[in-house]
Structures are given as C-alpha cells and as structure tokens.
C-alpha cells in the first residue's frame, strides 16, 4: 500500500521514540486556513510553515522544537496565527521573512517577539456554525407523524 500520509510527511517526527520528547522545549501549532473551523485569515501560512521548518532543520533544532498544524479558531484575526506551547504565546501577522528573527529571539533567546504578539485573544469556546446547525436539527427532530401533523396545521 502506498504511503497515505503525505500530509504529515513534512514532519521529521514520524518515528518518535519516547525519549525524543525529553528534549522538547517548544511545541508550535500553526493555523491552517481552517474555513468554517477557524475564521482567521491564515493567508501565507503555508509559506510561514515551510520557512519555519526549513530554518529549524538548518539550525538542527528539530529535536527541541516540534511543529504541528491546528485550527486556531480566532475569527476575524489578521493571520497567519500560530501558538508556541507550553509557554502559551500567541502570534499573528508573521511572514516567512520574519522567521530568522523569531528563531533568534524566541526559540534561542527565550523572549517573545513583542511586535508580532496576538493581543486580542478570543478565549471563547464558540461552537462552529456547522456543528451548531447539526445540534439544532437534532434537538428539534420530529417523528414522521408529527411532521405530517405540523404540515397539516400549517395548511
């Protein structure tokens, strides 16, 4: 069977023995353009993700920094959004050309890059529209007899 995991091949973490996590210092989650999930304008995030992975590999930091993909669910934010855990530092608006500065200052220096911090973080656990719709439909589900009765009442 062919490899059906193309979407995660870019990560150098496919064979993660438990000991590798001992070195882990930063776990970075980048937002993809999540459409209905997310709502941030994650344009340019593909380029950002590529640049970040390349730069980390070039500096041989892949054992200490893991890069993954998420959907940030910060609607209306000027993306691309990403979050650096376990410190919980949110960034937005960083471009591929700013990656070396980010690595120098945050990954190596340990200090968040002030000018890219996401200020208005929305901590709300809002239910995405398609899930809310599904819940509404199920809550008001009528039996066939009730549907017939409702139609008859409407007439």
């Amino acid at each position: 069977m062919a490899n059906d995991h193309e979407h995660c091949v870019a990560q150098a973490w496919e064979d993660t023995p438990p000991k590798v996590l001992d070195k882990l210092r930063f776990h970075i989650f980048l937002c993809t353009d999540g459409k209905d999930f997310c709502g941030c304008e994650a344009n340019g995030n593909g380029a950002l993700s590529g640049a970040l992975r390349q730069e980390l590999a070039r500096r041989r930091l892949m054992a200490s920094v893991k890069v993954n993909v998420m959907q940030c669910r910060q609607p209306g934010t000027a993306g691309p959004v990403f979050v650096v855990h376990p410190d919980g530092v949110w960034y937005s608006g960083m471009r591929a050309e700013d990656v070396p500065a980010f690595i120098e200052e945050h990954v190596l220096g340990g200090k968040p890059v002030e000018r890219f911090l996401l200020r208005d973080l929305k901590p709300v656990t809002a239910v995405p529209a398609h899930i809310a719709e599904a819940a509404d439909c199920c809550a008001e589900k009528l039996t066939p007899e009730q549907q017939v009765a409702a139609l008859a009442a409407g007439r």
Partner: protein, 153 residues
C-alpha cells in the same frame, strides 16, 4: 487559560479528498493486508502509523463533545482546537493539554469525559490515561547545538 488540542485528522469537510483516496486504497487492498492495517499491537508499528486516523475513530466525536459540554458549562477560559496528525494514532486518539504539557491517550468516549471533568474543568491530571508529558516551560530558549565539524577532504 488552557488550550486543548483534539486530534481530528480526516474528520470534517477539510479532509474529504484524503478520505476518498484512502477509502479507495483500503478497498483495493487484499484481505490479509487490510487485516494487518487494522490490527496488531501498536508497538509493532514503529512509526505509530497503524490503523485509522483519529478523526475516523474518536477524534471528531471528542471535539464536538468538548465543544458542547464547555459551552453548556459556561466555561470560557478554555480554547479547544482541532489539530492535524501527530503520528500517535496507533496508541489511540491523542488529546493534548497545554500549558500543562500532558498528552492523553483516549481509547473510548468515557476516557474523554474523564479527562474533561477531571483535568480540563477540575484541573487535576488523570494519571492512568497519560501518554506522554512535555517538560514545563523553563523561561529560557533552546541551547543551540554545536557547530558541525567540517568533513576533511
């Protein structure tokens, strides 16, 4: 503020193409290979890539359940994010909670509810479900690896 990541690879509209492709591949497999893909202990598959992605098993359900339960409980200082594959699905669906730095392995919905009630709402880690833990933040950066020695030619 807690940030909860639920692995939902191949769940939802975002993954339609991948799922169709994979379904075709699985359908074309001979029965022995198919049985091999779906069974066997996780440790035999060194890359962790046995079986189905979390979104096809539990991930989607867990994500929706967390959304609804947190909404109903009126808890607003938790962000739940769907995330893509972290190559651990041979062990079960993984739920990661930061900044606590704990990865849980979830094998059934009851485990997910336990994590929600005890850890996400109650703040106490569920020890028996922990898959891996991540070092707490040190406040310092990463030690840069030493420069590679040039190869003598």
């Amino acid at each position: 503020m807690r940030h909860v990541f639920v692995c939902t690879t191949e769940y939802g509209d975002h993954w339609t193409k991948t799922i169709a492709k994979k379904a075709a591949q699985v359908a074309a497999m001979n029965p022995e290979d198919r049985a091999k893909l779906l069974s066997g202990p996780a440790e035999e598959h060194a890359d962790g890539h046995r079986g189905l992605h979390c979104g096809l098993t539990l991930g989607g359900g867990i994500y929706e359940m967390y959304q609804h339960r947190l909404q109903a409980a009126g808890i607003s200082d938790v962000v739940v994010s769907p995330n893509a594959c972290i190559a651990q699905h041979a062990y079960g669906c993984v739920v990661m909670i930061y900044p606590d730095g704990i990865w849980y392995r979830i094998r059934e919905m009851a485990d997910a509810e336990k994590v929600l009630e005890q850890h996400i709402i109650g703040g106490k880690p569920v020890k028996e479900l922990i898959h891996r833990t991540v070092n707490p933040p040190t406040g310092k950066g990463v030690q840069a690896p030493p420069a590679r020695q040039p190869v003598a030619s």
